[in-house]
Every structure is written in structure tokens, then in C-alpha cells.
């Protein structure tokens, strides 16, 4: 389960691909709900999420030591949960899509990128080809919306929410275990990398071989459902002094 190693030489080609219409259309629609663009046309800062960005010197490593680390973690859990019916559900797509062509998904999510303040995370399971089988638009058919449309349903389902931490560490100071299995989560940087969730970003992004030290919690069977109530017996999920 080692992370992918990208060929540095491939980067220029990828930049060119992203320059194409697919990316332009995609990030224009990403910002559908954003406030009005400034009158003066300034180029949006955007960059591709490549592992090369992770290989940074210690001195310049991103300050992942957020002041309220556990609060940030909880906020990330919440942010992630917004798009999901329950922990483990595929997130809905919060932007318009090109309905028929999964290659446009890949334009942004095969490696991930940022555009302004929007983040397209790297897909955590790029080996699956048929993206739209599981991921559907949060607001579909927007272009056909009309006043008399059927109302949204009321559903009393309450989905399971993960706590976001837990699992028993071997001893104080041992590498924290993953409170989830790796089924469909083989790209760690999708959630934990530079453009992952703030509260889950480690303070050692310069290390790129995550699974060398981190394994799923021993309580899990990798073939069984991937999560439980995440507040497992773990005396170490309280902040260290």
C-alpha cells in the first residue's frame, strides 16, 4: 500500500492537460456559490496537488500545529460529514458536472488541485473508473429548475457520524493508528495531505511513506465495515501535556 510515486517529468504534461477546457469549465462551476468576482480581472491562484509539494525541507514544512488541534480535527470531521449521508457514504458532488464524461472528473480529482479558496481533493480511490456510479450532484438538473418542481423529501434518517479519532495505540507515543480501514482509502494524501483537511494534516508532511508507520486499528478486520464509533478506548486521544 505504498503511495504512488509520480514521475517529475510528467508534470509539464499534466499542467497542459489542466489548461484545457475541462479544467476551465470545472473550476468555473466550482465557484458557482462564491461571491461576485472582483471587477478587475486577477488570475486565480491555482496549483496542482503533487507529492512533490510534500517533499519540503523541515524548516519550511507547513505549520500543521494548529493551535486548537483537537478542535480543528472535530471541525474537519464536521466539514467532511456535510457532504455525506453517514460516515462511509460517498460524498455528493457540490458543483455542476459534465454529465457524461468521467474524464472531466479526473481533470481535477485524479491528483487534486486548488483554485482560489476551493479545493478539489485527490480521489482516495483512483483505481475505480466509473465515478458517477457512486457520486451524484448535490443539486442536479439545476439548469431545468422551475417553480412547480416537486418538493424535496423529508427523511428522518440520522446517519452514523464518526468521532474522527480512536483506536488503541501500542504505547504512549506510538504512531497513532488509523481509525478506519484502507478499503477505498489508499491515497492518504487525499485527506491528510497538503490539500486535505486542515485538522488532519500531520506535522510531518515531509515524510511521504505513511503506511510505514501507520496501520489501521487492530480492532478492525480489513474485510469488515471500515469504521465504528471512533471514540475507542484510547487514553492518548487527550492532549499530551
Amino acid at each position: 500500500m505504498a503511495m504512488h510515486r509520480w514521475n517529475r517529468a510528467a508534470r509539464p504534461a499534466l499542467w497542459i492537460t489542466l489548461m484545457g477546457a475541462g479544467a476551465a469549465a470545472a473550476f468555473a462551476s466550482v465557484d458557482r456559490a462564491a461571491p461576485q468576482a472582483p471587477a478587475v480581472s486577477t488570475p486565480l491562484r491555482w496549483r496542482l496537488n503533487t507529492p512533490a509539494a510534500l517533499i519540503v525541507p523541515e524548516s519550511k514544512a507547513l505549520p500543521a500545529a494548529v493551535a486548537d488541534k483537537f478542535g480543528a480535527r472535530a471541525r474537519s470531521v464536521e466539514a467532511r460529514a456535510q457532504l455525506r449521508a453517514y460516515e462511509g457514504a460517498p460524498p455528493v458532488i457540490p458543483h455542476a458536472t459534465v454529465d457524461m464524461n468521467v474524464q472531466t472528473c479526473r481533470a481535477c480529482h485524479a491528483q487534486g488541485l486548488t483554485a482560489g479558496d476551493k479545493v478539489a481533493r485527490m480521489a482516495s480511490h483512483t483505481y475505480l473508473q466509473n465515478c458517477t456510479q457512486c457520486h451524484v450532484e448535490a443539486d442536479g438538473l439545476a439548469s431545468l429548475a422551475a417553480p412547480g418542481d416537486p418538493p424535496k423529501p423529508i427523511n428522518t434518517f440520522v446517519g452514523f457520524r464518526a468521532g474522527g479519532h480512536g483506536g488503541t495505540r501500542a504505547w504512549t507515543g506510538a504512531p497513532p493508528v488509523m481509525p478506519h480501514t484502507t478499503f477505498m482509502r489508499t491515497n492518504c494524501i487525499s485527506c491528510h495531505g497538503e490539500f486535505g483537511y486542515d485538522g488532519w494534516r500531520p506535522d510531518h508532511l515531509s515524510r511521504s511513506n505513511c503506511v510505514q508507520c501507520h496501520a489501521p486499528a487492530a480492532e478492525f478486520d480489513q474485510l469488515a465495515p471500515t469504521f465504528g464509533k471512533a471514540d475507542l478506548p484510547d487514553g492518548l486521544s487527550v492532549p499530551l501535556p
Binding site: N101, Q129, C134, K152, I154, K229
Partner: protein, 812 residues
Amino acid sequence: MTSSLMTVDQLLTVDRRSFVKTAAMAAATAMASRDARGYALPLLEQAPSSLAWNKAPCRFCGTGCHVMVGTENGRVVAIQGDQKAEVNKGLLCVKGYHVGLAMYGKDRLTTPMLRRNGAMVPISWDEAIETIAARIAANPQGFSFYGSGQWTIPEGYAANKFVKAGLGTNLIDANPRLCMSSAVTGFLSTFGVDEPPGVYDDLDQCDVAIMWGNNMAEMHPVLFSRLVDRRARGEKVTIIDMTTRRTRTSELADHVLYFQPHGDLAIANGIAHLIIKLNGVDSDFVKRHCNFRQLGAAVDANTAPDMLGVPMTFEEFAKAVEPYTPEKVEELSGVPAEKIRLLGELFARRDLRINSLWCMGFNQHTRGTAINCIVHGIHLLSGHFGKPGDAATSLTGQPSACGTAREVGTLCHLLPGGLAVANPEHRAHAEDHWNLAAGSISAKIGYHAIEMFKRFNTPTDQGGDVTTIWVQVTNPGHTLPNLERNFLRKKDLADKFLIVSDVYPTATTSLADLILPSAMWVEKNGMYGNSERRTQQWFKMVEPPGEARDDAWQTIAVSKALFDRGAGMKDKDGTWIFHTQGRDEQAIPIWDWAHYYDINVDERLFDEYRQFSRHKHKDLAPYAEYVKSRGLRWPVVQQPDGAWRETRWRFSGFDDPYVDKGKDFQFYHSVTKDDKALVWFRPHEHPPERPDAEYPFWLCTGRVLEHWHSGTMTRRIPQLHRAMPKAYVELHRDDAAAIGVLSGDMVTVASRRGAVDLAAWIGGRGDPQKGHVFVPFFDETQFINMVTLDAYDPYSKQPDYKKCAVSVRRKV
């Protein structure tokens, strides 16, 4: 622990922490079966959590993915794909991931209701049961049961026995009449027995996959990705999409062949023509394993020729397909001749494994039996049969059209286990299994779905002899074609009585006289059988809301009420047909809801039903085996060491235990009784209604990924509803321009039968050909079935929702 499941013995040896966790699980499954028999209830792996996880097949399509259902405090709170399931290996589609929400729409039906003076008033279950029993007892010949491919196997079996043993009629039919019957008649005409010889493993092994008019990317997404994800592993699989419109399937196909309605008949014949011309006939296979057939002359203009047909020689067959040259096929189908040649060349190659796949495009077809037969035929002719990857596979849409309607025989001409009402020997078998007096089972075939509803919608004094229908688990008020004629007229016929067992208010309940709130999916025990003959089981995990109760209980309770009135429901010894007793030989009052779960009624019904399955070699294992597994594909045959072995490739000597030793293939239910399959010649014929000056467009109807069938479940799931909030009509850009329509404009789609207003969607998810429009049917605020045609295949009686003539005008 190597097994995924713990026996009671293993439970006793685990450490305390695991025991405490699994004890919670045991309580949940114990609720489902308090039978004192005490065989080891298998408990599934516990993730470290307060969630209890348990297995079930998905509630939705015929793929039959397995899910893990996470429950907490009596509610479903999470779903996972079951990684241990062979069908889907941990993956689901968007519907499957949200199946746990299907039960929690706010307007669940929770109390029985009776229409009095035009209004629905709540009544008690006792009154409901009595009302139904009185109605049926007054006129049993006027009563019809209408069921479903979403019926669990025990539910369907109970209803079937209720009618055929209990009332002595064959007045029961089910919605697979609208979805799969042509596949059935195709299998019967070819192999003499229903259901695919192949399995999903063929998807993993084929070199070429041909979609014959089915949008697999949206309709069987987990199977489609099983196919395309092979490319991510570096495998080469060629996908050919034969379609009337461009879809998501087309995007991932190597070749897209656009054809005109009924062009499939021409294309298949064109392939047969080329197989012969290119010396692609597997002469050895054909000589040893195939006979040729064609239809005889019609008796008269209104009666189709007998389905058995008349023999023909190979030479006659070759001569019959001679006219179907690539150029002629291009003329009939619109597919370029060079593409026809490509298909012919593929079939002529013996080194390629070819998997043909189809669904509604073939079955909802006025020549559905014919096209099913021809495609089986080209696989047999070219030897692309019976080896992993070489298969002609009919995919089903409903979770148990196979398992229940087809296998249990809940149709007006069938008995359980693939037996036929028309066959006196089969009736005798059924009478034997059911302990009925000889002659108890009626030889008179009942009414198929369209006929049943037509008569129900006709005044009683004008031949409308169906006066009471009990609908369970389906929505004919939405899904019948030509709704005005076949459903809505009931409104003005005061003496007709419609009973509906369902979970939500639907188009059908809107005209119901009696509504019965029902338990859904994991609110009851159940079993389903998917497209690859895999029977799958689940236990009740949560309680149904309010007074909702199992459909099977409802059937059993009414049966008991009728028995108590002396209105049938007994065997030749006068015993009630659902009589159930414990080991102490005391009767268990399963008609009393309070005692229904004292035992596992599913298990009792299933173990009784499975006796039927031996006759046509559709052997089912005992119930307990399905509890332990993620489904088993029949025939399931017990091995000398006691283990139960499923069969993947039927009729193939290397896998099917019923093939005589030493034979490579044996079609042991051969129509011609010589172990041979039939290769049929069927000519191309035009559809019954074609575009003309007044109605110049072809209308095709179908589904979308997000919604399942009539949307009664999926439209109450916010993520699915919001992703696809309403129906629309797809138009070709040029056609839209010609009538002055932009994407988003309202248009009226009208036929000779009715009209519907819809928003036009141009350049959306599907792109029809010029002169075609497509409308999905899931939206109950826009019934496209007001517009569709109810012409049907003469053998299967399945209507054709895929082609009729409409006008499209901008709504002003």
C-alpha cells in the same frame, strides 16, 4: 478465525470484550428467529463500535449486491458494501449506498386504511383482514393477486400457494410480466428451462462485452464497473454499445452502434448471416448440441403461431438468414454495414470470449421472445457458449424477479420450481407437494398483468370479471403502460375493490379501497434471488414503523380468515395450507401477529418451497445454508462430505453436476427431448406503431441511475432526489431547433393515448438520435405511462415501453 462467522461454540471461547460486543449482535439476530431449534445463528464480524452490522442484499436492482447494514438503537444508521460478497466485492452504487434511508421517508404508511364515503379512514388490522376475507369469499373467481419481483421468496411463495392451492385458481400474476417475461420465453424456447446458464464471472473473463440496448453504466453500475475496472488492471476488454441513444455506457465503450427500433432483430440476424458466411459456425458444437426451429404458420390473424415452432434444418436456417446481408441490415437498422461486419467477424472468431448482455431493450419489446431467441442462437451457432466469458446473459431489473416471480412461479401460468400449469404431470407434482387432492390445481391459466388490469378497468357487466385485486410490493398505477385504459378507469367503477400493501403512498394507493402498511427490507426477514441465480438471505434488523407488518403475514392472516369461513385454504385432509407446528406438534398461531416471529416463518416456507426446485434442476439448498453464505447459485448440490456446492455454468460438463459424466454440454431440459438446445430463426418485423405525420417521433422510456423504478423509495432519499429531482425529455439538438425549443423549455409529449408536459433537456445525460426522444419514468408527477403503448409480445405478454409514436411540441 478463518471463517467470517462465529458459531455459538466459538462465541464461548472469545475474550470478554468481544463477547460483550457480539452479545449485542446476538440480541438483534435473536429477535429475528426465536426458534428453539438452536442451530448456530451465525454472527458476523464485529467492528469495534456500538453499531451492529448484519448482511443483506440491496433492496434495489437485480444485480444483487450485498450490503452490510449498520444499526444502532433500532435504526439503520450506516451502510457499507460487503467486501466478502462475490457479486460486488465491497462496492455499491449511489442507490445502494443510500438504501438505508429508504425506510425513513416521513410519510411511511403506518396504519391500515379503508375508503369510506370517499375518504381513507384508519381501521384495525382485524377489520382489514376480515374485510379482505369477506370480499374474496363472496367471489373467489373475481379475485386476483398482483405481486412483484420485489416480493421476497417466502412472500411470493405464500401468495402463490394462497391462490393456487388455497383458492384453486391461477389468478395471480406479477410485475415481472412487465419486465422479464420475454427473457423467460427466450430461455424456455432455447433451453427448455428458464434463467441464464452463465454468471457474473463471465464479465471477468470475456474479451468482448456487447450491450444490446441496455444502459449498463446507469442500470447495473456495479456490474458495469466490474467490467471497466478490468482496464485499470491492464486487461483489455472491448465494449460494444448497441443503443438507440448515446448514454454514459457509450462513453466507456469502444464502439457505439446507433440503431433504429427493432433494428436489433435485423442486427442479430445479420450476425447469424455472417457467422455462416465467414465459416464461424462451430460445426461440431452445432451438430452435437443444437437443433434449428422456426415458427409455423399462424392459425389466424389474431393468434400467434405456437411457441414450440416447427423444425428446420441448418441449410434452411442458412437460407432464412441469407437476406440479412450487412447492407440489408444497415437498411433495416441504421447501423453502418461495416459495423455489422465487425460484429460478424468478432463472433466468427473462436479465440475471443464474448458476453452479450441485455435488459429492458430486449424484453420490453413486442418481439421480445424473438430477439432473446436469436441472440441465444448466435452464441450457440458460433460456439460462444458455456465457457467462462462466453455467455448470453439476461440482466434483471428487480431484486427478485428471478428468485421470486420466475422461480417460485407467481405468474398465471406457472407453479413453483419452473413447473407449468398447462402440464398435467407438473400439476400432479404440485398437488403432491401441497398434499392436495388430484385435480385441485386448476388447469385454466389465469390472467396476465395487462389482461388482469384491463378486466379490472372494465365494467363487471361488460366482461370485467376481475373485481378485486390485491397488490403487494409494486406500483401498477405508475408502471402499467397506457395508464388511462389500464388503471385510471377503475375510479368510476364503484363495485371494484383494490387492496394495496405498500410502505408509502403511491399512484396505486391513490385509487385503493384498502391500504395495508407493510414492513420493508430489513424490517422483516427475507430472501431474494438475483440475475445470476444467486439466492440470498437476510434477517430482520429493525422494527417496522407504527402498525406496519410483513406482507407474508398479511397473506397468511387472510388465508386463515378464509379457512375459518370455510372458503378454501385447506389441503385434502382439511388442514389449513399454512398450518405450522413446533417440535411438540402444537400448532403455532402464525396468523396472529404477536406470534409471527415465534419461529422463522421464512425458513418454514422456504424449506417447503425448495422441494419443488428439484424437478427442473434448480435445486435450492436448505435455508440454513443461505444464512451462512453471501448467497448461493443454484443448482446447489450437496457433496459427499456434506458441503453444499453451487453451480456457475449450467449445462457445461465441467461445472454442472447434472450433466452426464463425460459430456461437454448437455441441455437436459431440451425442448426436443434430445439434450439439444434450439437455435431459432425469427424474421425482422417492424414495430406495431411507427412515427407518422401526426406523431413524428419515436418515444423511448427508461430509467436513470439515481432512481429505482417508480421512485417511491428513491425519491424520498434526499441525496437521490436532489441529484435527479424530476423527469425530462431528451431531444436531439436539430429536432429541438426545428420546434423552437431550448434546453429547459417545457414541451408536450403526446401520443394517441395521452400527453405529458416535461422540461426539455438537451445535451444532458443522454443524447437521442434525430427523430427520437427519451423520457425517464420514475417521476410520479409526470406519468409518461399515460403516453406509452400497451401492445405486447404474443408469447410473454410483456408490453413494449421502448417504442411508440409521439408528437413533441413546445408548450405555449
